[in-house]
Amino acid sequence: MNQTTEAAMTAAEAHNREFLVFSLGEEEYAVDILKVQEIRGYENVTRIANAPDFIKGVTNLRGVIVPIVDLRIKFHLDKVEYGGQTVVIVVNVEDRVVGIVVDGVSDVMTLSPDQIKPAPEFGVTLSSDFLSGLGSLEDRMLVIVDIDKLLTSDEMELVERVAE
């Protein structure tokens, strides 16, 4: 029926998983910690001409040119000024390295499979295709982002479409 229950069936995924929790405005999101390569402060990026607005540009990560994506802009949240708290989560998806700008990283959480609820249908801005589910934790709700799917999707325009 949905990914989470499917995932729960497989032995490998039956264990608890760890997620990195980050905030975008008032909302809390989470990504699989195994995808995260490092967390660093926001540094100046080099703007890429004619790119979508949520692509801030590229930056130098120890000699590797890494594109930086602002998820707030992508998710049409209120624009927040970049400050000392602003961090870049560097994730490694499908042999690509991409940085995502978030307002802050709060903690790492372990969720058991039964704490992850299937994601309901959202509106247009955030397709549930990109969500692994909703983590419920006492009074908090974490939106668990399927970062692989999100970053390699066509609409992110991070990856050249083959047809071009």
């Binding site: 890429i48 001409a49 004619n50 000699g63 040119i65 594109p67 390295v97 991070l158």
Partner: protein, 781 residues
Amino acid sequence: MDITDFYDTFFEEAEELLADMERYLLELDVDEPDTEELNAIFRAAHSIKGGAGTFGFDALQKTTHLFENLLDHTRKGELTLRRDIVDTFLETKDMLSDQLDAYRNGDEPDQEAFERICQILQQLALEEIGQDLDEGGAAAPAVKAELEPAATPTSAPEAEPAAGAGQRIVTLLNVGEKDRQLLVEELGQLGKVVSHQGDEQRYEVVLASTDSDDDIEAVMCFIIDAEQFQIRPVDAAQPDVPADSRVSAEEGQRVITLLNVGEKDRQLLVEELGQLGDVVSQQGDEVRYEVVLASSVSNDDIEAVMCFIVDADQLQITTDGGAASPVVNKEKAGAAAVPAEAAPKAEPTPKPAAKAPAKASKPKAKGPETSSIRVSVDKVDQIINLVGELIITQSMLDQTVSDMDAVADSALLNGMSLLQRNARDLQESVMSIRMIPMDFVFSRFPRVVRETAGKLGKEIELVTEGESTELDKSLTERIIDPLTHLVRNSLDHGIEMPEDRVAAGKPRTGRLTLSAQHQGGNILIEVIDDGAGLNRDRLLAKARENGLPVSDSMSDDEVWQLIFAPGFSTAKAVTDVSGRGVGMDVVKRNIQGMGGHVEIMSKAGEGTRIRIVLPLTLAILDGMSIKVGGEMFILPLSAVLESLQPAKEDLYAMAGDDVVLKVRDEYLPVVAVHEALDVPDAKTKLTETIAVIVQGEGRRYALLVDDLVGQQQVVVKNLETNYRKVPGVSAATILGDGSVALILDITGLHRLSRAKKEVRRPERTYQSLEALTDKELETSS
């Protein structure tokens, strides 16, 4: 250690030898074959045979054996070369390559092909010299048996260098008149030339000298090859031991002496020898280490195995108990491979130790001693990347310390400048690792030209220039296909049939020139033919037929570029050579993919010159940093022609909102970088900007930028590794402060600015041209 560990080395060596062989075969003048070249071909075949025998590659061994025998007859003048024989030899070489590939992939070679080639060679031998090469009948054993007598040192006592006071006969084989005189003169310096007589084939010099045979040999080797002379004491009997007895001698014990071989290699070698037979004893030190081996393997084979680890001159193989130290000499072994032929004239006189094996390795050692290691490209790339990082870090530090006090921090500043120099040197040497000469590319073209010309019935002379020009290895590999296509194209479409050439008052033989040269940070590779040239009218007609937008007023350059349009071929008929498969559009795309471009120059009746301009390396680029608004970009310096401040009177508004800049009677399209790349806060007054005149794909543009910052070498970083292709941008780099700068793609930028204007145009269509012109010029005033 397993013998299979040496397979790869053997394969690579054999491949090189085959490449040499092909080159020599192609260079060979059929009417007057050069002895040196024939010897080289022979030696290549012989070396491969040795290795193939050692590793048990029977088909390869058998084929090379037959081939070698034929070559031997050829170099002795018993087989007169003809063009078709050389063709057969080339075919054999191809077959050897195929066999080698098969063995490399762990397969058995194609048996049918093997039998066919053997038969061809046999047939050739029978017809031309009336001799059945394969006396023994069966493959491998017969070959061995035939090889061994020759490889076996004779029991004839030999004058040791120490005993060199007496008279000696120096026999010269197949040495021309001029070299003979030279040699006799040379020998005269060593002692007294008692007498000299003979003819070209066999010339005997009696020399009284106190110098050792070794020294005599050393002197002669500057002029002729080791196998062209023999030295023996004047009263030593001509060694004439029956072949059979020598075979048995082979099966005995041998002393293998290793000279100056380190501990580790010694162990390796002894282990290796253990695989070939029984190691009876071993002793000695690093300088001289003796291994006694009981084995039935021929000396040649032992040598072949050892040569993968040590140099030939570090090795001596002698039969145990031999009074003197007769030495195996590869050349001689080969020369005597057919005992019946070799016995009377060229019976090898074993020579004193030391030097002989060194010469045996001659096919490998070209010119001055150079040794090399094989490294995977990945490893080199990694080093290059790391050095790139180092350079960036260094320039970062440089910027940091630049504000420091020159007196107070002089130690640090001195250290920094030293670091800078070292880092540059390191970068240069690391980059040079990847550089290989263009010869690597050009060497395959004699074959291509020979075959293509043959198919087309044309007479073509191939000239190559600048073979030593070096190019990044990754580029040399990628340039081969486009270049082959261009060469075929020139042969097919460019150069006319011999009759047509004569009718046009040209020499019958067409000339195709391949040249390579450096120009700034680029390498120019040219394919030049002296054919009919491109036909402007036909190209234009064909372009119209294909629905391409053309006009008669197009410049020649533009017309020539038409041949790169997809599906464009002016060939009247599809020939065997071209008109199929990939077209020139693919050539152009491939070359652009390598960061280069193609230019065409052509003159009717005089020929066509196709020029490929490539960057020397893809990893590092000479760049000019420019500023637009607050952003820094890099332009490839090779594309920059000049820069100037545009004056108002040189700017002309054109229909739409285009502006052109007049530079020395040339009207250049103006590309405002800030517009194409949406850079905020850039200078918009045309006369305040700086126009950088750049050239891309044969066209010139004026790029408007705010400021020129400076020139620097930049490490090219691919954007597509983690991101997508960006229009107008070819790659990225990291600047001294650690920030990223984009490297601009000139033609892409022009396309981008055109596309943007296209989008904006509808809003402007209603404005009158005058109003627009005024407006543009207003902003610039």
